[in-house]
């Protein structure tokens, strides 16, 4: 199963049999409202805190995925998930509601691919037959934790990004119909010494480049092997920087082939500055949008590389740098003969 140092190849090809995606009102006005199974018109979701609203979205995403499939929640063996909030409590409370054995992860915005990679690895190793993997984020909850109070009138620079309100999850199974997970590369922490929390794309780009380069080398394929290489939330700056870096290192990727979930979810006229971000950004982009393109036969093979900044508000105040990570997962359409 292990090829090279940090890449897994899944010979038993775990299947993503169903997905569930939930979003908020700002996402509903975005570029891809059809990517969501459920859209809320209120960011509070009638809860008394943003964190509870986030928990609710995670639960809903899982329930939707289960409901769309023909299995019951009792058949699911594990729930693998995480989020951005202190000690990942929204996810933990969602796990409590669902009453499932639970792996709690923290990889910031890279949690989506980390959870999918782990789910595929467990299934490939016969550790389970059904696993729910996913992640969630809430704009106001993240703003409050990492930046300022939501109503505070501070000016954000053009490099800042907008955290997605939503949740996305996948039901991964041993057998079934749907796109299959064929490989995954677990990234290393890359820290280029950047300290600006309002420029996460620029900080995360080297991590994405490192993971993509390693994945292609260890899987021994060219970039053209994939129809799409999808990054999680690099935004305008991170996309440009990482694409230039990849080309500088001799990896030939075309502009159309290299897409970013952070530039997919919202329209350009929404006030998102450099693009979308947050764990839900890559989860919704991957499960809601790009897997649908795969179902429609427009995409055959894709590599999803979700990137995360692993800083905390405290580490920032103590003048630490921003450590970043990227995990890659290769998804191929089930009908693919290879």
């Amino acid at each position: 199963m292990l090829i090279g140092h940090q890449t897994w190849r899944f010979d038993k090809k775990p299947v993503i049999i169903q997905t569930g995606t939930v979003g908020g009102p700002f996402e509903a006005k975005g570029k891809i409202p059809n990517a969501f199974d459920l859209l809320h018109d209120d960011i509070w979701l009638k809860q008394d805190s943003f964190e509870k609203a986030q928990q609710m979205m995670m639960e809903e995403a899982c329930q939707i995925a289960i409901k769309k499939s023909d299995i019951s929640i009792g058949q699911v063996k594990f729930f693998i998930s995480g989020d951005l909030i202190n000690q990942i409590t929204p996810t933990t409370f969602a796990a409590k509601t669902m009453d499932l054995p639970y792996f709690g992860l923290f990889s910031a915005c890279a949690t989506s691919t980390e959870s999918l990679a782990l789910a595929a690895a467990i299934i490939n190793g016969d550790g389970a037959d059904y696993i729910l993997s996913g992640t969630s984020s809430h704009n106001a909850a993240a703003e409050r934790q990492f930046r300022y109070p939501t109503e505070y009138g501070g000016q954000k620079p053009p490099t800042a990004q907008w955290t997605v309100t939503g949740a996305g999850c996948a039901l991964v199974a041993k057998e079934g119909n749907g796109p299959v997970v064929t490989a995954a590369t677990i990234g290393k922490v890359v820290d280029m010494g950047l300290t600006d929390p309002f420029n996460m794309g620029g900080a995360m780009a080297p991590a994405a480049v490192d993971t993509i380069e390693t994945h292609l080398k260890e899987r021994d394929v060219n970039a053209s092997f994939y129809d799409l290489i999808i990054t999680g939330d690099l935004g305008h700056i991170g996309r440009k920087v990482s694409l230039d870096l990849l080309r500088e290192r001799g990896i030939d990727i075309s502009d159309e082939q290299y897409v970013d979930c952070g530039l997919t979810i919202y329209r350009e006229d929404q006030p998102i500055l450099a693009g979308a971000s947050g764990p839900a950004c890559s989860a919704i982009g991957m499960y809601g949008h790009f897997l649908r393109l795969m179902e429609q036969g427009e995409v055959n093979r894709m590599l999803v590389v979700a990137t995360g900044s692993l800083h905390s508000p405290m580490s920032m105040q103590q003048k630490d740098t921003i450590p970043c990570i990227a995990h890659a997962v290769a998804i191929e359409s089930g009908s693919d003969p290879s």
């Binding site: 008394d48 805190s49 943003f50 964190e51 409050r144 300022y148 109070p149 939501t150 109503e151 505070y152 009138g153 501070g154 000016q155 954000k156 620079p157 053009p158 490099t159 820290d191 280029m192 010494g193 950047l194 420029n199 620029g202 780009a205 080297p206 305008h236 700056i237 440009k240 920087v241 230039d244 870096l245 006030p271 450099a274």
Partner: protein
Amino acid sequence: MADKKKKNLPPVAQEYQVFQQQRETKRTLFKNCIKAFLVGGFICFIGQIISTLYMYFFNFTEMTVGNPTVATLIFITMLLTGFGVYDRIGQFAGAGSAVPVTGFGNAVIASAIEHRTEGFILGVGSNMLKLAGPVIVYGVFAAFVIALIKTILTSWGGL
């Protein structure tokens, strides 16, 4: 300070930072200054209207009109913050809406709203001055130092 920090970084990181900076969206400093000047000026203009009205209709003098004017401006800020308008003004105006007393009011009110979920004592009470606290701490300290200097100069400096 920034250069000193950079020297401790490995050469790869230093090279990358230059590479990254070339591709970063630049802050529109000049445009931001103009916007800040206009919006900041407009807030002061409103303040001037309020104090003139107070002096005209009520029994205030130029010496006493300051406090009710500030209170009125902060009350308006409270409404704008609560209705979610002030943060949009802030994104447009930057320092223009942050520097006047309305910016201070917004920092206090936004924190109070934000921490309501943790209760009135440990939430609102403890966190209300989280952003505005430094202004008070260093404002009081600076006033103390200036008063001290003035006292020394007037008592012993013969001013």
